[in-house]
């Protein structure tokens, strides 16, 4: 989509802090995520593991960022911190202007409910629970006190991902791609500031993966900020910006050149593939971190 929204943040060498021009800052879209000097240390007995060392990261409204890295690179830790599931050991984290580090468990839960939408590799839908009930779930934990018709909102979210006609179906009656779309609807239903997707295509075949990315691109074009954690370069190529993580540091942070359009790819795929055996170039996507 429009390259004007791509982050102007200079990719820097590992460990170095990100710097940007404060004059131009005011002209840029609002920062959704601001990590400053974030460290995460895990302690097990006498051992200390530095999962994140001095991470600085700013993500602005309207970006579709892919966070890439191998197993053990620290991308999962980064994801957990971004998702308010974990707090940094040192450093500060501002989510939509709210300081996250040092918040209580309950405050973190409320923040996840209000500001974030999660999409997981394993879909993580409640079994034996209808699609619409699954989508409605985050609204049931809403503590803002605003009266809303949670059922109607859930139906609307399902409509947005093209599954309105399947609202009564249970996860076991849906395909992987459909389940992931239900999960995306669940993430969207609270109108969050940020969608966080952790390996969203990891359990999907290549064609369905492109479908999901097409949906992400569509949502992103509608103005939703999305962060996708992945280790697949193909998936990252649909993003506007790629952040590469290694050894707990940001190795590279750059806009995507020759960004692919998932919707267009789908058309090509459907034209080339025989109806009974869809094919896609990279079959190496299956491996899970």
């Amino acid at each position: 989509m429009n390259t004007t929204l791509q982050a102007p943040i200079a990719a820097v060498k590992s460990g170095a802090s990100t710097s940007y021009n404060s004059v131009t800052d005011s002209l840029l879209p609002k920062a959704v995520i601001q990590l400053h000097e974030v460290q995460k240390v895990y302690r097990s007995g006498a051992n200390e593991v530095q999962a994140l060392r001095h991470v600085d990261l700013t993500i602005r409204k309207g970006e579709l960022v892919a966070i890439m890295g191998a197993s053990g690179s620290g991308k999962s830790t980064l994801m957990n911190i971004l998702g308010c599931l974990d707090v940094p050991t040192r450093g500060s984290y501002l989510l939509d202007g709210i300081r996250v580090d040092g918040l209580s468990r309950d405050a973190l839960a409320d923040l996840r409910n209000q500001k974030l939408g999660f999409i997981f590799q394993g879909f993580n839908l409640l079994a034996r629970t209808s699609a619409v009930d699954n989508v409605e779930l985050p609204l049931l934990y809403d503590r803002s006190g605003i009266k809303r018709d949670s059922r109607a909102l859930a139906m609307h979210a399902l409509q947005r991902v093209g599954l309105a006609d399947r609202y009564e179906h249970q996860p076991s009656e849906l395909s992987g791609g459909q389940q992931q779309r239900v999960a995306i609807a669940r993430a969207l239903v609270t109108e969050p500031t940020l969608l966080l997707a952790d390996e969203p295509t990891g359990n999907l075949d290549s064609r369905t993966s492109v479908e999901v990315m097409a949906l992400f691109q569509e949502l992103n074009e509608a103005g939703i900020t999305i962060v996708v954690v992945t280790h697949e370069p193909d998936i990252a190529s649909y993003a506007t910006r790629v952040v590469e993580v290694r050894d707990g540091r940001i190795l590279r942070d750059h806009p995507v050149e020759n960004r692919r359009n998932a919707a267009a790819d789908l058309v090509v795929l459907d034209a080339s593939a025989r109806p009974d055996e869809p094919e896609y170039s990279s079959e190496s996507l299956v491996e899970v971190s």
């Binding site: 974990d86 839960a109 409320d110 996840r112 993580n124 629970t129 934990y141």
Partner: protein, 405 residues
């Protein structure tokens, strides 16, 4: 989270695991049903005993010869029976608190008349007797003062005696022979039933005590004197008064122990009911052990459920459930389960008590308070045994919970 949502969630979880929930609830069902049946049996026994004791008469005072023993040693220098008709007459004349006094002269003789003969206890009593014992006649009349003062040969038949001697006719006006003395039947007593010890109160023949003295035997001493007061509150004062009169009548000096015993029916009832009360508490206590076992079953299943649903808990936390939301969800689930079990248990318990009453002929009674306590207790079991697993669920780390396989 709204309460209706919580209840719906608990309902869904219970419906999703019908078999498991059913078996878990069974522990509570059996526990509550057992408690209800045991309480019903215990209460039934108590009410039976109370009824039997009340059948002796209302606000009854019994004066019997001898003293109570102390430490197993009988007190009183000459503990032979010194109770006399004179004592009864003195009490009748002097006491101000009593509604009625009657000596009871007991003997046993062959009653001949009607279709055959019947050996029955004969009691020589005063005109107050039927009042004291709250005993009506179903036909005929009770004794008059004239019957008593003139020592007339009139008799009241207990219903058992009447039935055996006069199976098909009203005996009033017929002649019966007590031993060799002919008497006229002037009335038939209403049926009283059995005493607490199981003897038939209706197997009796009443005659005026004056007649008994003159015609049946030369009793100078008698088995007991009974009296009654109008109100239960007068009983202690009446007992004191009787004791004082008896003391004087028997010429017992100060400090000399009584050679008689004055008891009232309430003491008797209290002793009997306290015994059965202990019994029914014991039964209920044993039954409630199974309720505790049922509670442990709930705890066990809830722990399994928490482990099994770790991932679900992780999902809920990730999308914004607070620890307290998760805690409440699991707690509500265990309470719904145990409360439902409790209600089913009450139904089965009440049915069981009715069946027991039907097949054994025992009296059973279930006080509403016992039902309320049983249901309340089962809910408490749910809270108590559900809290730990729910607490465990609430304390889960969302990251680890999400990763749980």
């Amino acid at each position: 989270m709204k309460q209706s949502t919580l209840l719906r969630l608990a309902g869904q979880s219970i419906v999703k695991n019908k078999m498991r929930t059913g078996l878990t609830m069974l522990g509570i069902v059996i526990g509550v049903a057992a408690v209800i049946v045991m309480v019903a049996v215990g209460q039934g026994a108590q009410s039976t005993i109370r009824k039997q004791i009340n059948s002796l008469g209302t606000n009854l005072i019994m004066i019997t010869p001898g003293t109570t023993s102390q430490g197993g040693v009988s007190q009183g220098a000459q503990t032979f029976n010194r109770l006399s008709v004179a004592d009864a007459e003195k009490i009748k004349a002097e006491a101000t608190t009593l509604a009625g006094v009657s000596p009871v002269i007991n003997t046993r003789t062959q009653v001949i008349g009607g279709s055959g003969n019947w050996r029955a206890p004969v009691a020589g009593v005063s005109t107050d007797y039927t009042t004291i014992r709250d005993w009506d006649v179903t036909s005929g009349e009770v004794f008059t003062d004239l019957d008593q003062t003139s020592a007339r040969k009139v008799v009241l038949l207990g219903s058992t005696v009447a039935r055996n001697l006069f199976p098909d006719e009203d005996p009033v006006g017929s002649q019966v022979q007590l031993g060799s003395v002919p008497f006229t039947v002037i009335g038939v007593l209403a049926t009283k039933g059995q005493t607490a010890s199981g003897s038939d109160q209706d197997d009796v023949v009443l005659v005026p005590y004056t007649t008994a003295q003159a015609r049946l035997s030369g009793f100078a001493f008698l088995g007991q004197i009974i009296a009654s007061t109008t109100n239960a509150s007068d009983l202690p004062a009446a007992q004191d008064e009787i004791t004082a009169i008896m003391h004087e009548s028997h010429n017992l000096g100060d400090g000399v122990p009584d050679d008689f015993t004055v008891r009232n029916q309430n003491d008797l009832a209290a002793t009997a009911t306290s015994t059965t009360q202990v019994m029914s508490w014991l039964l209920a206590a044993i039954a409630s052990v199974s309720l505790v076992v049922g509670g442990i079953g709930i705890m066990n299943i809830m722990l399994v459920s928490v482990t099994e649903r770790t991932r679900e808990i992780g999902i809920r936390m990730a999308i914004g459930a607070r620890g307290s939301d998760v805690l409440t969800q699991f707690l509500v689930e265990s309470i719904v389960m145990s409360l439902l079990g409790g209600i089913i248990g009450v139904a089965i318990g009440l049915g069981g008590a009715m069946a027991l009453a039907h097949f054994t002929g025992w009296t059973t009674a279930t006080p509403p308070i016992a039902v309320a306590v049983a249901v309340g207790f089962s809910a408490a079991v749910g809270v108590f045994f559900g809290y730990y697993p729910a607490r465990k669920a609430a304390a889960l780390n969302p990251i680890q919970a999400l990763r749980y396989e």
